[in-house]
Symmetry: C2
Subunit: 228 residues, 2 copies
Amino acid sequence: MQNLLRNFKVVIHEKLYLKDPETSELGKKIVGESILLIDEIGFESFTFKKLGARISSNESSIYRYFENKHKLLLYLTSWYWGWMEYKLVFQTANIANLNVRLKKAIEVLSEEIQEDTNISHVNEKILNAIIINEYSKSYLTKEVDHENKEGYFAIYKRLVGRFETIIQEAQPNYVFAASLASTVIEGVLHQHFLKQHFPSLTTCNKHTAPQQFFTDLVFSTLNLKEYE
Amino acid sequence: MQNLLRNFKVVIHEKLYLKDPETSELGKKIVGESILLIDEIGFESFTFKKLGARISSNESSIYRYFENKHKLLLYLTSWYWGWMEYKLVFQTANIANLNVRLKKAIEVLSEEIQEDTNISHVNEKILNAIIINEYSKSYLTKEVDHENKEGYFAIYKRLVGRFETIIQEAQPNYVFAASLASTVIEGVLHQHFLKQHFPSLTTCNKHTAPQQFFTDLVFSTLNLKEYE
DNA sequence: TTAAAATTAATAGTATTACTATTATTATTG
DNA sequence: CAATAATAATAGTAATACTATTAATTTTAA
């Protein structure tokens, strides 16, 4: 995994940035540090001015890379889902047994990111924390239809589609595969959030991971046995 | 239902407002019109100044009722979940059969609000649209733990708890009742959103309602038959 | 009925945000 | 070494999210 990821670069919609942040040190710093800063102070309080101060750079220099903070968020979330897609594809490839593959897919999608893989300037563990807290804000906007048409959510949609296929192949009779796929991917984020802030609303805690809940949910719904 | 609702008033945490908007015409106008305006322009673009212009009142007068627009959103969402709780309790009361009761609960929680009941200055159909688009923003904040401690999410938590109980009573062996309850309630909003903006990510459309998906999901998961 | 109290409206003002524009400086490359 | 590209610095703007003060109006209670 480590090795495979070494040559990994997420291809992100080029309208999401003005200048590709991967092509310069400043760009990488903007991406890397914005993740840390958004995690610390939250997306609402995050500004390019504060980020500039933090990386000893200027507000206006950041505007050379990203039009505004919303586009930066779309960039970061695309990166995350692209990385997740990569993990999903690699970790489920070559698993012949459809049930085992489905189980693995749920595992990849729902496991907590424990470590930064150090493959890049991106801290995946903290990026995961941001996704849990901020992802919804990237699409719960009045511009969503326009931005969707532009293709800004393409990676996420492709990921949901891949998971839908894995579900459908494991149980061809099931008619709600798309909804189940999107419910699980969204639900995973939600359960992680509840675990941290509303423990009474979730069964998940130190001993029970979202993975267990969703594995049980999907296999029961599809009327499949986890081991066979 | 109409009649029962006539004497209905949601009891909302008193720290969510500075002056109870139910006690004056201006207050009711603020609540009623804020729903319409947020629906029209989205929560991000919504300001008290714009609302003031719309109700031919002054920005500063609105500040007499609500500290800021975040508190107003918490007020509106509390109202919505309180109304939902009321519907849930009434519509599931006196249903002896536990499976039938569970099915009814899912129906109440997932059905599309078709009509404004005209019981108040609140347009429930539009409020429902707001909840779909904006509810997450009320808790995906850095202040969530503090606000949760204050009790601002009490009504929502009580609703999830009630649904959890209905699930647990229908299937006492099931160990993930809390997570299933929160997943369904959150998932319903998400599926309604996807239906409108990302049709490829959901099975729900004109012919298939979220209700069908979630009814199937819950009954399969709990290993119960819908009719028996 | 009238005076006090409460409510609402109007005006002004502030710090911050989310930018844009311009120019100067520094680094890179051909 | 010169041209070009990238970055930094400075300044400025309209809008936002408020606060404070005072004035006008309405409500209530003696």
